[in-house]
Amino acid sequence: MKDRDRKAGKGELNMNDEEKGFDSMTKLTDQEKSQISPKLQDTEKFFRDHIGLGTSFDLGVRKFTLLGKQVHLYYVTGLCDSLYVIELIKELLKINDHETEANRLKEIVKNRLVHQQVTLVQTLDEAVDQVLSGLVVFFVEDSDFAFVVDVRNYPGRQPEEPDTEKVIRGARDGFVENIVVNTGLIRRRIRDERLRYEIMKIGERSKTDIAIAYLEDVADPGLIEVIKKELKTIKIDGLPMADKTIEEFLVKQGFNPFPLVRYTERADVAATHLLEGHVIILVDTSPSVIITPTTFFHHVQHAEEYRQAPAAGTFVRWVRFFGMLASIYLLPLWMLYVVQPSLLPEAISYIGPNKEKNIPIVVQIFLADIGIELLRMAAIHTPTALSVAMGLIAAVLIGQIAIDVGLFSPEVILYVSIAAVGTFATPSYELSVANKIVRFVLLLLVVIFKVPGLVIGCTLFILFLASIRSLNTPYLWPFIPFNPQAFWQIIVRSSVPHIKVRPSIVHPQNVKKQP
């Protein structure tokens, strides 16, 4: 499994499990060859031939002499911290001044490596993996093992507040691209001895670290098993898109636009879900973690609600629900009254396009909606200072002038804008995009089939959501299937002391939240 490509050429390093049974003779010689050689020239030749020492500029070797014996240090410049390496070399060179017993050099070197994380490796294979991960490896002449010292310093940023999940009060630290920092951020919040981080490497070439986090006595062992099994079956060369790729392998989404897992960049949200019994997947090189299992209603909540008083949180939540409903249903409903004004209830008979324009309303809606989508995309790619100006141009000029020249009727601008604001108020970006697609489909159905189109469309929409099961979890839980207590907690943001049990959907081994 490891380094298939590197080994394939000359078969020097084969330690594959599959081959163990075939030919014990070859196995022995292979193992001998991948064993670290006491001669440092062999090691150097190996690095030259297989890892590209001398070809790749970032791979280097530093040679020095201790008590008359050669010591080689292999490193990757971009990934290790030079200051620590300098300290290590300084300390090692003092051996020449203070020590005399050259035949005990190995022990002396080990003793003098002033770092808490020093490990021994027996094979070149392991040594190479470590060097390419940013650790440094010391090879000492006449010894058949090497010292690996963790001096990694990955390029990255400090934890900062995630842009997509801002809160007015509350912790401002968010996950970063470094998995070790991320696990640390969670561990800071849960010092439980039963918190587990199981790590594995995925990707034949990228060897990306992936950690599964869970509380051992709470999370559903079946779920952990399923996730581990699914992850282990992933065969891919690399994971540059990190968590998103993992998600696609894990939940097999197909063309369903609705998000089947929840992402978060907030450590407090991740910790909350761990305590509820969820399993969290952290992928190195991504600042968002995957929360499983997820239902539709996980995507309509926001950390902000839990930083406010229960009543205020509930209010915020209801306003948000209203916005989300508007983002899906407002435009199709209005469109229905445009194509069939006779349906308009008496009480709101003033609604409707009061002046017919030159372009059919449905085309106007599509143009305006696509226009907003364009603006949104443009705003992402534009530097902040410019995008403010662009927003002004867009809102004031395009909208107003489009009405003045007779392109749009004012109502179209109004309803499309409300729907767009509702879309932006959706806490999960993935969900907001999926809702937008549903809105388009419903619009088309209304234009073609009128009332039956809208009603059947809505019904199929709900049935479709209800039929989704991701990781053996019904997507619309706790609405369909109905769970009164859990549904109450979706409608109302309950105060924490009142939530005494963990949600049943994660099948927690330990149900009580407040022991």
Partner: protein
């Protein structure tokens, strides 16, 4: 509360306990489903999608005229909620082992057929199908299907969870 009861109960009662809580659950599911989808039906009635509001369920009784107003619709929704408890038990008896949403869909369509082809014209002053119009028929079928899935899938899921 449930847990403490469980601890106190002796061997024989222990067997009955899960069924009683399941019984309660079915009651809650049925009632909520009836009220919820009736209210959504009321919304569809207000939006002129259908000519039949939840107050039609009260036509069995000879109340005064108030049943034609807003209060009548809410009272109708509550009454449908109570009736729905019975239908929920009917589902439990017939389809509890169906784990997909199709059981609920079929159940909903069957309920609709019973109400609109037999009960409605006979007792509830609902016009025969021919005079209802497409909008009313489509909207009511959809509501019954959603009700059926809500009640059916909830019961089947609960049943499956309790089995495992």
């Amino acid at each position: 509360m449930l847990n403490s009861e469980k601890k106190n109960s002796t061997g024989k009662e222990k067997k009955k306990e899960p069924f009683r809580s399941f019984f309660l659950k079915i009651v809650v599911i049925g009632f909520t489903g009836g009220v919820l989808w009736s209210l959504i039906g009321y919304l569809a009635y207000v939006l002129n999608f259908t000519k039949i509001g939840p107050n039609r369920a009260l036509m069995l009784f000879a109340f005064d005229n108030w049943k034609n107003g807003v209060a009548g619709h809410f009272a109708g929704a509550a009454f449908i909620g109570i009736i729905s408890i019975l239908t929920a038990f009917l589902y439990y008896v017939l389809f509890k082992k169906v784990r997909s949403i199709w059981g609920g869909i079929v159940f909903g369509v069957a309920l609709w057929a019973v109400v609109f082809c037999w009960l409605g014209p006979a007792f509830l002053k609902i016009d025969p199908l021919g005079r209802l119009g497409t909008n009313t028929i489509v909207t009511s079928i959809c509501l019954y299907v959603l009700f059926g899935v809500f009640v059916g899938y909830s019961i089947s899921y609960e049943y499956g969870e309790r089995q495992s």
